[in-house]
Symmetry: C2
Subunit: 361 residues, 2 copies
């Protein structure tokens, strides 16, 4: 990589394309002849409104967001949505279905219990979340306010390879760690949301795609900033939005366009993930805890049998310019997060490093 | 100004020092030899933790935050605090005092009514908020959970020139538009908070200074991300914080240091405001709606008698490089927001422009 940059395998925040950062840097004191940085602009000004509108348009186009859905630019990450979803949707029937496939869906279910009855539709904690439940395993309540799941489990390295069928129950999905890595049929969902800091933009922005008809049933004590209806009515500008992150998202979306859109990204990411899993499967030392058929293309968890070897691998990889490969404490071992902006070159070089380590240890 | 930049009198987001923007631009692809942008760093990494800790230390030092208080880096702006404050403090006695001196304190009081009984301790809407109430006018309830006020009213151009005396009732203050423009005795307050986008950093960061003993009495339905106790216990990192905005705040605090700290800033801002008010008071055409003794040093509202002249002034000023001088629709006329980062040169040139306009019209 140029500019003395490293390959950063962090689970998030994570890499951004160098070209995007360079573009942001080039206009940081004067955006488009406005005489201002985007960081200095009134959110009510024409120049910022155009950035906002263009970013909305690009996101809708690239994600194929249909009519009847609104795209919101919010804050406070997935954890904010853990509350906002039940605050706004739980009153439909007073209960909701949650599939527990990792840490974040578990936290979401725990938070939802403050606001109604939570039915655990699936729970893979008995196998330390090494697999995704099948459709047949889901214990669905036809009267649930919504069905909640997390598409990709960052910590455990698993990813749903199908969209759950829930009949008339609206699907709510946390796509924080795999949004824009594969085409999604938005019309199947009630709400899709993602903290932006893994695949889309710097931390501080949460993108929500919501079927508009689902808004307007919030519980009476719903905080102002957690009311989807208000955010829809005010087009995410009830108050000052995170302007810089929205601008950065716009630059990222231009980059996604350059990669051939989400379909183009999918091809690249599938090749990157296949290369890494193949390298690991062919190694003597390493195994992947995630079961085949449930493996994530975004977060590749792997480990050697011995803790000494894991520690040695992480230390040597770090010294060689592969940063943040240590696995989460719930799983141990290593984790390579290879989000959209991780260059193919980074995965190739990591594979070479793994092969050499495998040979020499 | 160099670099074809303009003087931006926006009420917020607003100007940042050029040197701060240039420094951010210089390290946007590689911060301090880390090989990463701050926008790409794991918030759990050592390199980001150091940015976070340094920013905390600088803020505490510059604001004189005493022991027993925590500084939180949150999101969702003042409107988020409108809910968070009653959600966490209202259970003390079930009621709270609010002083209504403008749009934002009014919205705060309205939101608080969701969570308890609101006593209107003062309300200056009868004079369209052209003045700040005196201490003697405040209708205080000795049993209130807290007393809430907004230190500076951006729309109306008024500013509290004293700290209300409320006995044992904790003071809660929105300082979004005048924080760091004057020294504050933090020990007099229970909570001080500020959206960062006027005087401190880009939009997307809300800084809260909270007396720690006030946390822990949240209502049972308080959302995860709106629980002060959780944010204190997790040092603002329950989940990913707005890392870039925190970094930018750190750069801004270095700049405040270069100006002689908050005391140094106060001298500069008092001189800027005095120059502008004197020019307006000595003009034939312009008057200031804010009453003397209640005038804001941050947002200077003024107007001519005729709407045609106001429109002409705004158009000609804009063409001359003075941006965003149109007043809020609640007040009309003009408003010059001269926050900390507005250079003295910008105010001097605006004064020259006002004098010439006054002579020629």
């Amino acid at each position: 990589m140029s500019d003395n940059r490293i390959f950063n395998f962090s689970a998030g925040p994570s890499m951004l394309p160098l070209s995007v950062l360079q573009r942001a840097g080039a206009e940081i004191t004067n955006f488009g002849g406005s005489g201002m940085s985007v960081m200095e602009m009134s959110h009510r000004s024409k120049v910022f409104q155009k950035i906002f509108d263009d970013t909305q348009e690009k996101f809708r186009r690239l994600m194929g967001v249909p009519e009847g859905y609104k795209v919101l630019f919010l804050q406070t990450g997935a954890s904010g949505q853990f509350s906002m979803i039940p605050l706004n949707l739980m009153s439909r029937t007073g209960k909701a279905d949650y599939a527990i496939t990792g840490n974040f869906s578990n936290l979401a279910a725990k938070e939802a219990k403050k606001y109604g009855t939570v039915n655990i539709a699936a729970d893979t904690s008995d196998c330390n979340h090494t697999r995704i439940p099948t459709q047949a395993e889901l214990k669905l309540d036809a009267d649930a306010s919504y069905f909640y799941y997390c598409a990709n489990n960052t910590i455990y390295g698993t990813e749903w390879q199908y969209v759950p069928e829930t009949g008339n129950v609206p699907l709510v999905c946390d796509m924080s760690s795999d949004i824009m890595s594969r085409p999604v049929d938005v019309s199947k969902y009630g709400i899709i949301y993602a903290g932006a800091q893994k695949n889309m933009a710097p931390a501080g922005l949460t993108v929500v795609i919501i079927k508009e008809e689902l808004a307007g049933s919030e519980l009476p004590y719903t905080p102002l900033m957690m009311n989807y209806k208000t955010m829809i009515d005010k087009d995410s500008m009830y108050n000052t939005p995170p302007c810089w992150c929205i601008y950065m998202l716009g630059l990222m979306l231009d980059w996604v366009d350059e990669q051939g859109g989400v379909a183009g990204i999918e091809k690249i990411k599938a090749a990157k993930a296949a290369m890494l899993y193949e390298t690991l499967d062919n190694s003597r030392l390493f195994t992947c805890p995630a079961q085949i058929g449930s493996r994530s293309d975004m977060n590749v968890a792997f480990r050697a049998d011995s803790e000494d070897l894991n520690a040695k691998f992480i230390a040597e990889a770090s010294a060689a310019g592969f940063a943040n490969l240590k696995g989460h404490r719930n799983v141990g071992g290593m984790r390579a997060s290879i989000y959209n902006a991780m260059p193919t070159e980074g995965v190739e070089k990591l594979c070479e490093f793994i092969k050499a380590f495998d040979k020499n240890n």
